[in-house]
């Protein structure tokens, strides 16, 4: 069953059509990667999926209903968490308050304390920094915090936009390990990445986006074999 389905979607900034006629879906429990060169329209696509940018044309369904008319915050409360490019952490709130915000919109009966223990067990670093402003953390730690929000928030669908951007190889490994855990826990994940090799390895399926159009799709592993095709579409990877 698809938790997310886009049909012939166009997304535009005024007269500029950044996404043109994309059709794709994300099944429950599936991890789908969207790869493409800089400026291909990946971030725009994510904005459309979370309700930040209304499609100029086409239709989107999320969590079993049409997206039209639903605000991003409503979708977030219904279980669609979008970790945007640049992470979306609140720099002036401390680590704990950032996690509280994510928890409070989808609270559980186990309580915040228990939820936070799971985060600290996974990311001991965040425990050490729990009372520090998110803005004072390193880029890697901020990305950990951004991902940790998904642990306390337990979304049904997670949209992640370039989580490995600007991180050290060590931290990139950590990011993908975390995503793998989310995947194993049954979360449906839509992942936008420039780190194509790692993304295709993690993803069940993938779409290649070029200049706003889907030019290639397939199983993650199969696409990963087509290095020449990928290179043609993505530039040097």
């Amino acid at each position: 069953m698809a938790v997310l389905r886009a049909t012939d979607v166009h997304l535009a900034y005024g007269p500029i059509r950044a996404v043109r006629g994309c059709t794709f879906h994300l099944d429950e429990g599936e991890t789908v990667a969207i790869v493409g060169a800089n400026g291909a329209g990946k971030t725009t696509l994510m904005r459309g999926l979370c309700g930040l940018l209304a499609p100029a044309d086409g239709s989107i369904e999320v969590l079993g209903g049409p997206l039209a008319g639903r605000r991003p915050d409503e979708l977030a409360r219904d279980g669609l968490l979008h970790i945007p490019e640049g992470r979306g952490t609140i720099s002036n709130l401390d680590v704990l308050d950032n996690l509280r915000l994510a928890y409070e919109i989808r609270p559980t009966t186990v309580g915040f304390e228990a939820a936070i223990e799971a985060v600290f067990a996974r990311f001991p670093r965040l425990k050490e920094r729990s009372d520090q402003r998110a803005g004072s953390l390193s880029g890697g730690e901020q990305q950990m915090l951004a991902l940790a929000r998904a642990i306390v928030n337990r979304p049904k669908v997670l949209l992640v936009d370039e989580p490995s951007l600007g991180l050290s190889p060590l931290m990139i490994g950590e990011v993908f390990r975390t995503l793998r855990e989310f995947q194993e826990a049954g979360m449906s994940i839509m992942l936008v990445e420039q780190n194509v090799v790692k993304a295709l390895k993690l993803a069940h399926r993938a779409y290649v986006l070029r200049q706003g159009e889907i030019v290639l799709e397939g199983k993650g592993g199969e696409l990963a074999q087509k290095t020449e095709v990928l290179e043609a579409y993505l530039g040097s990877h």
Partner: protein, 293 residues
């Protein structure tokens, strides 16, 4: 005597701070000035007057004023802020809220004229009280100070330590990120306008209580100083507004003590110019748009 004037200064400073907090909350959240804020202070006095004229006791008038002024915040947000989200929206909102403030003021004037009107307040709150360091402090001043302090602490706790406060700070810093976290941004903005306007309402009541009358002038006077105090304290910084309000109030009290009463209205502006020259971000401000408790 000096102690008495300083005590007066603390009370007045507390009122300045309360008005400034309303400006500060909205500015910290939206990076926009709400020029209608001061006229909510005026409105409060006249709502109390009408309530009393309609037969309500002074005590019943208090919650009525809080509700009416709080709701006026929703109207201000809807008419002068909601629609103007773009970059140019800053000056449009400022102009629109300015116009809205004048509308409130003129409606009040049309109905009640420009002269101050008496509010039937029991005189014992002025004539009896306590004495601190030999300075007689009437109940009205004590109550004003007490209420101001409670409101300031309350606001600090709400903004710094509650779910709503976290959401307010998140929206103030990054509305889009806040929205992606499930925060109903418009709702949070509405809450802030209600709280800020209710604060203006309570300030208006307290100001009316000082002299036992209501006047259509108070809003303008207090709004101007409120804006100055916000700038001195640091745009968006709640503690800065309280600090600056008290400093200015006390400085005015001291000026009055030394026979410089006429000078006291210039004081705040001189201080503002000086502070901005030395620290453009204000005494406690971080120089960025955000609500800080």
């Amino acid at each position: 005597m000096l102690a008495e004037q300083i005590a007066n200064g603390v009370v007045v400073g507390g009122l300045y701070a309360l008005v400034a907090l309303g400006f500060t909350l909205v500015f910290g959240l939206l990076d926009k000035l709400n020029f209608a804020h001061g006229e909510v202070v005026t409105l409060a006095g006249f709502v109390a007057l009408v309530a009393v004229q309609l037969g309500a006791s002074v005590w019943l008038a208090i919650p009525i004023v809080i509700v009416v002024t709080g709701l006026s915040g929703l109207l201000i947000e809807l008419l002068s802020f909601r629609a103007f989200t773009s970059k140019e929206g800053h000056s449009v909102s400022a102009l629109s809220s300015f116009a809205l403030g004048i509308v409130i003021l003129e409606v009040v004037r049309l109905e009640y004229g420009a002269a101050p009107l008496n509010l039937a307040i029991p005189t014992t709150i002025y004539t009896s009280g306590i004495s601190i360091l030999g300075a007689p402090i009437p109940w009205v001043k004590l109550a004003t100070l007490g209420i101001s302090v409670v409101l300031m602490i309350g606001l600090h706790v709400v903004v710094g330590h509650t779910r709503l406060g976290r959401q307010i700070r998140a929206v103030g810093e990054a509305p889009t990120s806040a929205m992606l976290l499930g925060i109903h941004v418009t709702r949070v903005i509405q809450y802030v306008f209600v709280v800020a306007s209710a604060l203006a309402g309570i300030s208006g009541l307290l100001i009316a209580m000082q002299g036992g009358f209501v006047s259509s002038e108070v809003g303008f006077t207090f709004a101007l100083k409120g804006i100055a105090i916000m700038a001195i304290g640091g745009m968006g910084d709640l503690r800065g507004a309280v600090l600056a309000g008290l400093l200015i109030g006390i400085a005015e009290g001291i000026a009055i003590h030394y026979g410089l009463g006429g000078f006291s209205d210039v004081l705040v502006w001189l201080v503002m110019i000086a502070v901005l020259l030395i620290r453009p971000e204000g005494l406690l401000g971080g120089g960025r748009r955000e609500v800080r408790a």
